[in-house]
């Protein structure tokens, strides 16, 4: 009997192959999915929350934005092509949003035109010319610039660009060009930092190949590295543009905010976002004035989606 007991004590209870985890009770069997389930629940519910938020915002904006056309019976076509805008209900209101659509698109495009050459140049300097210094010093500085609140850019525009415009081009100094410049400066660090990342993603083997066939540094950058990073750089620019398109505050501070169609880049103008932020507080929920502002929001959303679609398409083509 004594001998038997000793033998039993030496042998682990369950099986001769019993592992440490089984002995310590940390693993009960192979059908214990508890930990997996917990992780899955957390991850799936966050993903679900995200999707619900996006769908809810889109739906809400769509429902609210379509009220002006279906409840207030404003003609959709005259809404997006009309050039006269007035929310003054007593003296005959008019809802022509074209000046704002035009304003938004031209601010975005001009901002991209100003920002792209500087941003790509900066990215090339960081990623190709001064690699170490660019990565250690310039990249963090640019990331700080990305984080500066847009109101600061607006303030700088207000105190530097607007007076400059007033002195050199006349008028009040508040105009389309000032808005584009402020937004251009604002998106510059975003574009530069993404473009630098995409240049760094170009494999060194391509640079080696180019040098090995007698390419100079400049030829290598211009004919090999930039084309190889091509669509990623375009994506960086479009991301910057979508940021410019959605910017309200900085633009509002310098663009002049008139409801008229601008006739030159030196004329004051307004954008979809500036009209919404400028007028929303003066309207009551459910009124026509309120509904048309929601419609402007819907247009913003649709155009933002188009930007995102373009980015996705470029990414797809790049991976193909």
């Amino acid at each position: 009997m004594k001998i038997d007991k000793a033998v039993i004590a030496q042998t682990p209870e369950s099986s001769p192959k019993s592992s440490l985890l089984r002995e310590k009770g940390l693993m009960k069997g192979f059908i214990d999915h508890y930990s997996e389930t917990r992780g899955k629940t957390i991850i799936y519910s966050s993903a679900l929350l995200m999707i619900i938020a996006v769908v809810a915002i889109t739906l809400f904006l769509t429902v609210q934005g379509l009220r002006s056309f279906f409840v207030d019976h404003i003609n959709f076509w005259s809404f997006i092509t009309g050039t006269k805008w007035s929310l003054d209900q007593t003296n005959g209101a008019s809802y022509g949003a074209f000046p704002f659509i035009f304003g938004s698109l031209s601010v975005t495009l001009l901002a991209a035109v100003f920002a792209t050459p500087v941003a790509v140049g900066c990215a090339l300097f960081m990623a190709e010319i001064a690699k170490k210094w660019g990565q250690r010093v310039l990249q963090p500085i640019i990331e700080i610039l990305v984080g500066i609140p847009s109101v600061v850019y607006g303030l700088i525009g207000l105190s530097v660009i607007v007076p400059f415009m007033r002195v050199h081009f006349g008028g009040s100094g508040f105009n389309l060009l000032a808005g584009s410049l402020v937004v251009g400066i604002m998106i510059l660090p975003t574009v530069a930092s993404i473009a630098a990342d995409s240049l760094r993603a170009v494999p060194d083997s391509l640079r080696e190949a180019s040098f090995a066939i007698g390419g100079t540094k400049w030829q290598t950058i211009w004919r090999v590295v930039i084309p190889a990073a091509g669509s990623s750089i375009v994506t960086a620019i479009i991301l910057g543009m979508s940021r410019a398109f959605g910017e309200a505050l900085a633009v509002q501070m310098v663009i002049g905010n008139t409801f008229q169609m601008p006739h030159s880049i030196f004329a004051p103008a307004a954008t979809l976002t500036t009209v919404i932020t400028g007028s929303m507080g003066d309207t009551t929920t459910g009124s026509v004035s309120n509904d048309v502002l929601w419609s402007l929001g819907l247009i913003l959303l649709v155009i933002s989606y188009i930007f995102i679609l373009i980015i996705r398409m470029l990414a797809k083509r790049r991976n193909a």
């Binding site: 494999p203 083997s205 391509l206 640079r207 080696e208 190949a209 180019s210 040098f211 090995a212 066939i213 007698g214 390419g215 100079t216 030829q219 004919r223 090999v224 084309p227 190889a228």
Partner: protein
């Protein structure tokens, strides 16, 4: 230009019994990566219109050495070279040498096929465009000639404007060789060109190199001793940064003078 050697190496002949003059003379070359002495006191000739193979175990300095011949090591900031590599009356290692011109005469092919993500014809035309060639007719002719030279023409002639990245690994590597030929260099350096390829592609490249040596001087780094034995006229065995033995391939493989050479080629280490 020929450099007369005072060693008996110059009297070696290639497999056909023809004497080939020395084209590049390597004298007392030392290469450092930071404080690491990667290549030590290498002296060897590279004969014109022949294949010279550099063999040895990993980390023996053979790749470092071949990358010095067209100054690709300049791209590595911590690399430093000493000594002389004489080519056409010039010391390649002279800091005043225009490396861009040098690389137009001494081309290079790498371990991983690295075609540009452009069209097949653009891949071959880019070196010419880099050199300032604008004549469309010459660009087109060169494309065809180079592709024919590497035996790729029949495979790709209908899709010259397709992206080169769509080709198979072996085709890509032959395209890279064609690209290196576009400028009609006198020397082609190949750094383990077949180690990323399957056996069929490898044998195609070997046949190609045997054809090319009629017109070009070829230096090839290889891990594969059989490959060196099959194609090389001269073989250099590197071990721990030193050139242990250099000679005609048939002599080196049949009667190695040094014990470590014998050990390596018989597969005892490496």
């Amino acid at each position: 230009m020929m450099i007369q050697l005072d060693t008996n190496i110059a009297n070696f002949t290639n497999d056909k019994g023809e004497e080939t003059p020395v084209q590049i003379e390597v004298k007392d070359v030392n290469i450092f990566y930071g404080s690491n002495h990667a290549v030590k006191d290498v002296n060897m000739p590279i004969h014109e219109k022949s294949i010279t193979a550099l063999i040895g175990p990993s980390g023996c300095g053979k790749s470092t050495f071949i990358r010095t011949i067209n100054r690709m090591n300049d791209l590595i900031p911590i690399a430093r070279c000493e000594g002389n590599i004489l080519y056409r009356d010039n010391n390649i290692l002279n800091p005043k040498i225009d490396v861009v011109q040098l690389r137009k005469e001494i081309g290079m092919v790498f371990q991983q096929p690295n075609p540009f993500p452009k069209s097949i014809s653009e891949n071959i035309q880019l070196p010419l465009k880099f050199a300032g060639m604008r004549n469309k007719k010459i660009l087109k002719e060169t494309t065809e000639n180079c592709l024919k030279e590497v035996g790729l023409w029949d495979e790709v002639k209908d899709r010259l404007d397709h992206s080169a990245t769509g080709l198979s690994g072996g085709q890509q590597q032959r395209l890279c060789i064609a690209r290196a030929l576009a400028l009609k260099p006198s020397v082609i350096l190949l750094d383990e060109p077949t180690s990323a390829l399957d056996p069929v592609s490898t044998s195609k490249i070997e046949e190609l190199l045997l054809r090319l040596k009629k017109d070009y001087t070829i230096v090839i780094v290889t891990h594969n001793m059989q490959q060196a034995a099959r194609i090389a006229d001269y073989t250099a065995f590197f071990y721990q940064g030193e050139l242990v033995e250099f000679g005609l391939t048939r002599n080196l493989f049949t009667h190695p003078e040094k014990k470590s050479t014998a050990d390596y080629i018989s597969g005892r280490f490496g």
